[in-house]
Symmetry: C2
Subunit: 283 residues, 2 copies
């Protein structure tokens, strides 16, 4: 069974005329199946993903120039970023994964260029990195809350494009995903966190403060995605009211990124026959 | 079905009169079932492990004093350390896991006390840390190869016990596992790496150099485990010729460590009713 491919995801790609308001968070563009079909499909290529990841890891381990993947996740609170990490990345060998979660910058970080703390968390060669939030917060909450002056926000869009071009040139394949939920769905998910004592820890009164600025955030997302979706590192705006859909999409993008490297197992940098003899003699 | 418990593992605990040579790497002490029974048992408590891990993570997230777990893995090449990480730790939410793999120390690290680089990789509160090799290399290869003078090696056993007591006092539950394989089994596993081109990257000619010092390594392990197996942080010497057994044991030790914390979901540090009202008004 074919997975949800990058080609299928073309319809989710952000173009310069991107209109976030026109995208229905309940929809499943590019996928004609139902939830049960997605469930069957979801684990279909897990072994292949595991093997491709190991191949990438192997190339880096023996010192060959190896690429890396960086899955960058953005979305409003409760949009399912953590679930993607658990369910999509959870299937990969943890030794090959590097996860960074970006909170509000510290006092020290605020004194540096916004990309400094980002660079420190880039995945090593051969690894799959995940950014749970990212440098995009510096043009999202920072824009909405006016934490930085407009001319600095303006400068950042270009700086981000340059930075991501540089990443691509150095062998890091970036997969940028915005998980797009509706305000109603967020309300329901936050209400569940308040209902269930085992979910209270996930709730923060500040979540409602941001929610009250919903429209401003949607604007900030639309502008940010428009201005930073490039040929090399496009944005995918993934409807995420149905978690099974957004997870299927991200897994497909990851699989295609790994396939795209077309990596072979690294050849031995030692004489295999000599080593077989040495091993036989070491019994 | 009960898991393989810490009580079952009592027979694997290293006592002061520990004799490594008397432990059969093919055996499965404490377990009366067969491979198929172990397979059934292996995933039985995955949901519970996931929930306990999330509970620990939650406590740390809301700023409560939260414990952490540190699974420390030692063993000769091919003893299955990577497989433990993949199969035991692979089931846990990657956001709650921190893996460190210790290679030969760099020039800079050699100029520092041997514990400096170890401390830098300790798991944060609420996390499950894994050490693939550890500070024990500093009394294993360093002893066998005489990379450090005897009196320094001698000093390290005590320094390790002090360090681990300190870890325990600060809330880190240490699980120390030596994966014990036979020389014959290692030979077979290395031969497989040489046979299969997709495994060549895992082979290093240096592996045979160390293998030639097998008996010296067994001695170094026996001494290290004897001298650092304490009431608080005991060593488990786990027969590892049968991978299904060693994985079952480690998963059981992890489950019991998490259960032992007896953690509750953290109570809300906000007024739940007030927040429900605020949320309702934010529609």
């Amino acid at each position: 069974m074919p997975h949800f491919t990058t080609e299928d995801a073309a319809v989710l790609r952000v173009a310069p005329d991107f209109d976030l308001g026109s995208i229905d968070p309940d929809s499943t563009p590019g996928f004609t199946g139902k939830k049960a079909d997605a469930a069957a499909l979801f684990t279909e290529h897990d072994e292949e993903i595991a093997e491709l990841q190991e191949r990438m890891f192997a190339n880096a381990r023996v010192g060959r120039a190896a690429p890396s993947v960086l899955l960058l996740l953005q979305g409003m609170d409760t949009s399912g970023k953590g679930g993607i990490v658990r369910h999509v990345i959870g299937g990969v060998d943890p030794q090959g994964v590097q996860i960074a979660s970006f909170k509000a910058p510290t006092q020290e970080e605020r004194g540096q260029d916004f990309l400094v703390r980002i660079r420190e968390q880039l995945p090593a060669a051969g690894k799959i990195g995940v950014f749970d939030r990212s440098h995009y917060e510096d043009v999202l909450i920072q824009r909405v809350r006016a934490f930085a002056p407009p001319e600095e926000i303006e400068r950042r869009y270009g700086a981000i494009v340059d930075f991501e071009d540089e990443l691509a040139a150095s062998g890091t394949k970036l997969i940028k995903v915005m998980l797009h939920i509706s305000k109603g769905e967020q309300g329901a998910r936050l209400a569940e966190r308040l209902e269930r004592p085992d979910k209270h820890w996930k709730y923060n009164p500040g979540d409602v403060d941001e929610r009250l600025l919903w429209d401003q955030y949607q604007d900030a997302y639309e502008i940010a995605l428009r201005r930073t979706s490039t040929e090399t590192s496009p944005w995918y705006c993934v409807p995420a009211n149905r978690k099974w859909f957004s997870r299927l999409v991200v897994k497909g993008l990851l699989l295609d990124a790994l396939r795209g490297f077309d990596l072979q197992w690294p050849a031995a940098d030692f004489d295999v026959e000599v080593e077989k003899r040495r091993l036989a003699e070491s019994a």
